[in-house]
């Protein structure tokens, strides 16, 4: 039932180039706001009959809830707007387009399906979590219990969106921050002090180094792949005996 109606709505409902340009500008401004607030730079807009009824940016760190992606925030606003305007949610959603700087993740794609949003316009692909083809194709999969499929229009200002993500990943993750400085301290301390005077100390040194590494690899899930950490970690471990012998 929902699938047929959704498809029909999508057919007669295709955003023009001017619309895409205009709304994507807004979405990029929202993403910049996220970047300035230490969140993953993704911004989005829900547009219904030429007006913005939902606007969101990533709020994961603020809320300590990893599901607070820009799309989920915007969908909440859409629902609040419907309640406020006394309009039926499903009839509004069927005529609402989502403009977002980065391809929605698997979770958000499923959420958009559940609400029967017919069209999603996005900038760059999301190789890490993308739910519109990059990792899984939730947007067009056959999932009869999960709302209706939606159409994707991709590639608008993709390079710019990627650049913003790169800028973010180059910065330190605020959650990994303290551990990184702890690690740096631990790595530099043997050069400053004679920490290696006894095996007991070297043991505590290793375990603290290891724990700070684990914390780092745990928390910086946006940072470099874990394998790199591990390799680095064992490189250091294999180097330690020589340090001990020479000191």
């Amino acid at each position: 039932m929902g699938t047929d109606e959704g498809l029909r709505a999508a057919e007669c409902f295709h955003p023009s180039d001017e619309e895409i340009e205009k709304w994507m500008d807004d979405a990029f401004d929202t993403a910049k706001d996220a970047l300035e607030n230490g969140e993953v730079p993704v911004g989005c807009l829900m547009v219904y009959s030429n007006q913005v009824i939902g606007k969101g940016r990533n709020e994961v760190n603020e809320t300590k809830n990893a599901t607070r992606h820009a799309e989920m925030v915007a969908l909440d606003q859409l629902l609040a707007w419907c309640r406020h305007s006394n309009l039926d949610v499903s009839s509004v959603c069927e005529r609402t387009a989502l403009y977002v700087t980065v391809e929605p993740c698997i979770m958000c794609a499923a959420a958009l399906r559940l609400l029967n949003i017919p069209v999603v316009v996005y900038g760059c692909r999301n190789e890490r979590f993308g739910g519109c083809g990059s990792v899984l194709d939730v947007s067009s999969a056959s999932l009869p219990q999960t709302g209706s499929t939606f159409k994707c229009v991709s590639g608008h200002r993709a390079e710019e969106a990627v650049e913003m993500l790169k800028t973010f990943y180059k910065q330190e993750n605020p959650n990994g921050d303290q551990n990184l400085s702890l690690l740096l301290f631990l790595l530099s301390s043997p050069l400053l002090s004679s920490l290696f005077s006894s095996p007991r100390l070297i043991f505590s040194y290793i375990s603290s180094l290891v724990s700070s590494f684990l914390l780092l690899s745990d928390f910086c899930f946006y940072a470099v792949s874990q394998e790199l950490f591990i390799n680095f970690f064992f490189a250091i471990l294999s180097f330690l005996p020589f340090l001990y012998i020479t000191s």
């Binding site: 629902l79 993740c105 499923a110 979590f129 990792v135 999969a141 999932l143 290793i206 394998e227 490189a235």
Partner: protein, 396 residues
């Protein structure tokens, strides 16, 4: 002592280079946490991989834990058939030639993609004129030839065909077996080597969890069932979810379906936000629903355990176990990936489920967080919730 250990370990790990798998990562972590915990509070080590079987003194407890079995939801690679490829094998007529033949065949036709396949097999049938058979090459690697014969397979200047009989086609497993059922299947065709993951084998038999562990799982799923029934009484779908900190053995949050006021408030999403609230975050209030609750961390004295200081600061759902009555949908499953969930236990499967039915998001290749999922915990009782749902849906 320590130095000595490290010197032997380090180069060994170096060989792994970029191929450190998530499993080795996990066991590594467990090991390290055990090393650290002088006070015996191996707070994270216990919860992830190594739930040791304990004594069976709980057997007579009031929970009927024998009524259900938790089975693992394995990845496609672990649960699919290993696949078969055709190869030419030939009988070794002269047994004395075996080692030369294997050596020369290995250099002429190396089976690089089939490291798990053994080159030579013993012939089982009694009274066979030859005791051994050897793999010559894959059918796809064989040179073009009109009639299959041992001489056309082996170039005249290369391997001497002395001691080999005429070739015949066999099927060999295409991929290394990862589980015991796969190994048994593969071995029927050709001898195959197998590096057994004991935990998977035990889990597939449904014997991974000891009686006391099952008793605890029973208690957690029972509270999820209670929450599900509460949701149903309020006219919403009968789904409940419970987030547990397995290290402390305590419930962090209980949630149920709240689709009445928000179409995306599935039980798991509610539970994830309640966990955020327990950590001082969160963005919804579920105060209207008495069956939705969370345990605030600040008011909990158990937190002050030596050895579990800064590093034990909870971070989203890291290391937590989720018990949910029904297999989560795609949205909820991915929410759990984003939340770095430790393990998931569910009761009954669902039509669009993402932990086994439609997808296996917990073992999806490109995602950077993977975890174990078990199904069938109080399966019957969870299944029965669907009949409750039927009544509500009609009314909606």
């Amino acid at each position: 002592m320590v130095v000595w250990m490290r010197r032997f370990e380090a180069p060994n790990y170096h060989n792994h280079k970029g191929t450190v798998t998530s499993t080795s990562m996990c066991s590594l972590r467990c090991g390290i946490f055990l090393l650290q915990s002088d006070e015996g509070t191996s707070f994270r080590a216990e919860n992830t991989k190594t739930m040791e079987p304990q004594t069976k003194r709980w057997k007579g407890s009031e929970c009927d834990t024998d009524s259900w079995v938790a089975y693992p939801v394995l990845s496609d690679e672990q649960s699919q058939d290993v696949g078969l490829v055709e190869a030419y094998a030939a009988p070794i007529v002269n047994k004395k030639e075996t080692s030369r033949l294997v050596r020369e065949l290995n250099s002429l036709y190396p089976l690089n993609d089939l490291q798990h396949v053994k080159r030579v097999r013993a012939v089982k049938e009694k009274g066979s004129p030859h005791p051994l058979e050897v793999l010559v090459c894959l059918v796809s690697d064989a040179p073009a030839m009109k009639v299959v014969s041992i001489d056309s397979l082996l170039p005249s200047d290369g391997v001497k065909s002395d001691g080999l009989g005429e070739p015949f086609v066999v099927k060999v497993p295409a991929r290394p077996p990862l589980t015991r059922p796969q190994f048994e299947q593969a071995s029927k065709h050709w001898p195959t080597s197998f590096h057994e993951d004991k935990q998977v084998t035990v889990a597939l038999r449904g014997e991974l969890f000891s009686a006391p562990q099952k008793a605890r799982m029973h208690v957690y799923m029972t509270s999820a069932l209670t929450a599900a029934r509460a949701a149903n009484e309020l006219g919403m779908e009968a789904v409940g979810a419970v987030m547990v900190d397995p290290a402390m053995e305590r419930i962090v949050a209980v949630g149920h379906d709240c689709r009445g006021d928000h179409p995306l408030h599935h039980a798991v999403m509610v539970c994830v936000d309640l966990v955020a609230r327990s950590q001082g975050g969160g963005c919804y209030t579920y105060d209207r629903y008495p069956a939705c609750s969370f345990t605030s961390l600040t008011s909990d004295p158990v937190q002050k355990i030596p050895g579990a200081e800064a590093s034990s600061q909870p971070y989203i759902c890291t290391g937590y176990d989720l018990y949910v009555t029904r297999e989560p949908c795609v949205m909820c499953a991915m929410a759990l990936v984003h939340s770095r969930i430790g393990r998931v236990f569910y009761g009954s499967a669902s039509a669009d489920g993402a932990f086994g039915t439609k997808y296996k998001i917990h073992s999806q290749k490109d995602l950077n967080h993977r975890f174990e999922v078990y199904k069938g915990v109080l399966g019957k009782q969870c299944e029965d919730l669907n009949s409750l749902d039927g009544h509500v849906k009609k009314g909606k």
